[in-house]
């Protein structure tokens, strides 16, 4: 039997095994016999081996060039580098579902392994068989999907003859060149780890409902899971933005495209869940809400998969247009009905012991944080689907774009930023107003100072006239609606102020804790901060995430509102000013890329960006008679144009020169005879993007904070349950 045929047979075996696992767990419950439950647990290890081996067969096919397999033919070729051949596993629809299944089996096996210990707890023992029923049902669906889309399918003979008339195995079509980027090799697995991982908290919550164990056991068991998968999801989303920024040449990282939105929907709900579980742990409240949130998070991961695989939304991305995505619909309906039914059935067990008492409490802050995040999820989902909704229900064909998303989400994000800073300043149950205002006094002052520092830059931009609208007679008049329409202009100062406020609140809290240890316990100023932070890693991990978010927010706000973009065409060694900036760009060199050992040919163009001592308001293309000899070089850029004959694709690889203040970014469009008839000219788009690197730095902090918060606290039990 061929290795790849074997891979498919393994999938069939895995489908059968999930059925066995499910029924073993059911029998374990009915007969109250632990041996069946333990056998069911062992089944997950076997399942991981089977799916791992099946995926290994597909990877083997990629690495050894089995181009008679349709999937491998479509996403690989002989000249492709080893890491990208490996990445073929998740490069296409069929393989990506198998990869999803592999990760799901991996997570389930870890959860089953952990249950060796948690099953010593009476609640853990009661939940365990139900957990296996839920997990095996979800895995069954995904293995069935893998089996039915079949990444191991052999190319029909007539098709093979068409591609290789001599009857030999043809070379592969190859991966799309724009996907041959290291971020694209890392981004999907990271994102998938985040999306798939939410299955485990979902399964625990459902199992708790089924077993009538509605305490916070399931939350304690899955807290670390949730934190880790949330961190992966966050990083996966940001890596997608980084790939778009480096490869796609439009100078941005987020365009509110449905494929991007699909990944952020579960993030919104998952973030809400991460916060609200703290309320249940500390105050035994919001039990129903937490269950709804975790079901919604899992549901949104499936919605994300459905949106990107069904062609239901129109996007600049070429989605799959087959019926594969539609097979997710019954599964989604099943999850929604099963979840709602269980909640209804167990409602009497879900009553909390406390209620929200005061607006000046941490519970209230979490309540509003949850409202905002859920509203963001609902809003982004509605806008993503608006094209279909307007067409199917309103009988009109309309589309929303970035301005609509900006207008709706900006106030929500601002409120979220404010709450991120305010939330930790409240105590549980009730905080006295005097204590609260004392805590926020200095952070507020620092936030205001930051706004005042930024004010001159804001005023010098063209944002202030955004309160005026044309009066139809050549003049302008005051129009408050313009302020709503241009809300992001006004968000700039608020966003910067709130971000500084967040950092200041964390800094101040750290200072207070350190000072109290120094005074109370006699520790040194060097020792105390480390003891404070490492002794309370869950809280300070969260704060590091908050600081990362503040940094990211500043990066997004500043780069969105103060970005300079210009389409230009210049002659050789004829520097031209980038209008509205103190920068000059000059084309200094051009060279062909010899096609040696690479699957493309192309050209490189060298640009130098120089800085003037003043801002030029208008362009002076083709030299314009200005003297730029005193300008100081600040960056050298070398964008490329590549042509891949096999795929018949031409792509332009932008060049980026980064520093912590500005990114200089050039996307080369074409070289052609000059309009003036003298020599050649180069057409390109240049961007001066401020503070983009703050976004990536913020993401790194969020990653570190998430990992730090998930680490076991020194001196405390590291087991799943206490």
């Amino acid at each position: 039997m061929d290795v790849l045929e074997f891979g498919r047979e393994l999938l069939f075996l895995a489908v059968c095994l999930t059925v066995v696992i499910f029924f073993l767990a059911v029998i374990g419950v009915l007969l109250k016999d632990r041996r069946y439950v333990v056998a069911s647990r062992t089944g997950f290890y076997a399942l991981l081996v089977l799916i791992g081996a099946s995926s290994g067969c597909l990877i083997y096919g990629f690495m050894t060039g089995k181009y008679n397999i349709e999937y491998i033919y479509r996403y690989s070729e002989r000249s492709l580098g080893g890491p990208f051949k490996f990445a073929g596993l998740w490069a296409g629809l069929d393989g990506s579902i198998l990869f999803w299944t592999l990760l799901l089996c991996g997570f389930s096996a870890i959860a089953a392994f952990q249950n060796r210990w948690s099953a010593r707890h009476p609640v853990g023992r009661r939940i365990e068989p139900y957990l296996y029923m839920v997990l095996s049902s979800v895995i069954f669906f995904f293995i069935y999907m893998s089996y039915s889309v079949n990444p191991f399918e052999e190319m029909p003979l007539d098709e093979r003859l068409l591609r290789s008339p001599d009857g030999q195995v043809p070379d592969g079509h190859g991966l799309n060149p724009q996907l041959e980027n290291y971020w694209m090799a890392i981004h999907p697995p990271t994102l998938y780890l985040g999306l798939v991982g939410f299955t485990i908290p979902f399964a625990f919550s459902m199992a708790s409902l089924m077993a009538r164990e509605m305490g916070d056991y399931w939350i304690k068991v899955t807290r670390r899971w949730t934190l880790i998968v949330w961190t992966f999801l966050t990083i996966g989303i940001i890596l997608g933005g980084l790939w778009a920024y480096e490869m796609l040449g439009w100078g941005g990282y987020w365009a509110w495209d449905p494929v991007e939105n699909a990944s952020i929907l579960p993030w919104f709900v998952g973030t809400a869940f991460l916060h609200s579980v703290m309320v249940q742990e500390r105050r035994d409240m919001l039990k129903v809400w937490n269950i709804i949130l975790i079901i919604a998070t899992f549901f949104m991961t499936i919605v994300a998969t459905y949106m990107t695989r069904s062609g239901v939304v129109e996007s600049v991305h070429a989605f799959s247009e087959g019926d594969v995505g539609n097979r997710f619909i019954p599964f989604m309906i099943g999850v929604a009905i099963f979840g709602s039914f269980l909640i209804g059935l167990r409602m009497k067990y879900l009553k909390g012991t406390h209620k929200l008492e005061s607006f000046f409490s941490r519970e209230a802050a979490f309540f509003f944080n949850n409202l905002i995040l859920v509203a963001l999820c609902a809003t982004v989902y509605f806008l993503s689907m608006y094209g279909k909704i307007s067409h199917d229900w309103l009988m009109i064909r309309e589309k929303t774009g970035i301005p609509v998303y900006t207008m709706v989400t900006t106030p929500l994000f601002l409120l979220l930023l404010l709450l991120t800073g305010l939330g930790p300043q409240f105590g549980w149950v009730k905080t006295s107003k005097s204590v609260f205002f004392r805590r926020v006094f200095w952070p507020t002052i620092l936030g205001l100072v930051a706004c005042i520092i930024c004010l001159p830059h804001w005023i010098s931009s063209d944002y202030v006239p955004a309160v005026m609208a044309p009066d139809g007679q050549g003049g302008t008049r005051f129009d408050p609606w313009v302020m709503v329409d241009k809300i992001h202009y006004y968000s700039t100062l608020l966003g910067i102020g709130f971000s500084v406020f967040i950092v200041a609140t964390v800094g101040l809290e750290l200072y207070r804790s350190v000072r109290s240890r120094v005074k109370g316990r006699g520790e040194t100023w060097m020792d105390a901060p480390l003891r404070v932070v490492f002794g309370n890693n869950r809280r300070y991990g969260g704060y590091i995430v908050h600081i990362g978010m503040a940094l990211l927010a500043v990066g997004v706000i500043w780069s969105s509102n103060f970005r300079v973009k210009e389409e230009m065409e210049i002659g050789f060694q004829k520097p031209a000013v980038i209008p509205g900036t103190p920068y000059v760009v000059e084309w200094v060199k051009h060279e062909d890329i010899p096609q040696k050992g690479i699957p493309y040919y192309g050209e490189k163009v060298d640009f130098v960006i120089k800085k003037l001592d003043h801002v030029h308001p208008v362009a002076d293309a083709q030299g314009g008679g200005h003297d730029h000899s005193h300008a100081v070089p600040v960056a050298t850029l070398q964008p490329e144009m590549r042509r891949y004959d096999k795929q018949e694709v031409t792509i332009s690889i932008p060049a980026i020169s980064r520093n912590f203040i500005n990114d200089y970014y050039i996307h080369y469009a074409m070289r052609r005879p000059s309009q003036a008839g003298q020599g050649e000219s180069i057409a390109f788009t240049i961007f001066v993007n401020p503070t983009v690197n703050w976004i990536w730095a913020g993401a790194v902090l969020m990653l570190l904070g998430g990992i730090f918060a998930a680490l076991p606290t020194p001196g405390k039990r590291t087991g799943l349950i206490s």
Binding site: A91, G92, S96, N176, Q178, L179, L248, G249, V259, T308, R309, E314, S315, V316, H317, A318, F319, S320, L356, A364, F367, L371, A375, T379, F382, L383, Y386, S390, I396, R397, E398, K399, T400, G401, V404, M407, P411, V484, E567, D592, P594, Y601, G602, E603, R642, R643, Q647, E648, V649, T650, I651, S652, A669, M670, R672, P673, Q675, E680, A683, T685
Partner: protein, 150 residues
């Protein structure tokens, strides 16, 4: 109870903001056939799912013709002062935002977006409007406006 009221007011405000934003910010979408039937002169709109039939002039301004992907009988001329995006090629798909001008009988696009290649579908395509010349080759002069390439 007070939290429920505040929450309801908050969500209601979001609903109103969403309604205003969609009412103000959404723009009509047309297929090429619909665009040529209705000729909504002067109205900002989008043309989606169109296929580039022929690139008449590769730049400054860019001029090309499009049809619906499924139906090539209706042909719309498009003029744009924007630089062509990546993957802009004959046979490729493009979405456009702009205004139809009855006097020139053409769609004036201010935004051009080609299909971005995702990992899910590779799109085979035709020739690109601009391909880097092979080493040693020289660039060819731009076609004057209105002259169709063979």
């Amino acid at each position: 109870m007070k939290f429920a009221v505040i929450g309801a007011i908050f969500l209601g405000s979001i609903g109103v903001l969403l309604w205003i934003s969609v009412a103000q910010g959404s723009i009509k979408r047309y297929s090429v056939t619909e665009m040529l039937e209705k000729r909504p002169s002067g109205e900002e709109c989008r043309v989606d799912n169109s296929k580039i039939l022929k690139i008449i002039k590769p730049g400054n301004p860019l001029k090309f013709t499009v049809s619906d992907v499924e139906n090539e009988s209706q042909i719309l001329t498009v003029i744009s002062k924007r630089l062509p995006p990546d993957n802009f090629k004959e046979g490729g798909q493009v979405a456009m935002r702009g205004v139809f001008d009855n006097s020139t009988n053409a769609f004036h696009a201010v935004e051009l977006t080609t299909k971005c290649p995702t990992k899910y579908e590779a799109q085979p395509g035709g020739a690109a409007p601009y391909t880097p010349p092979k080493p040693g080759e020289k660039t060819t002069p731009a076609q004057p406006e209105g002259v169709q390439t063979p």
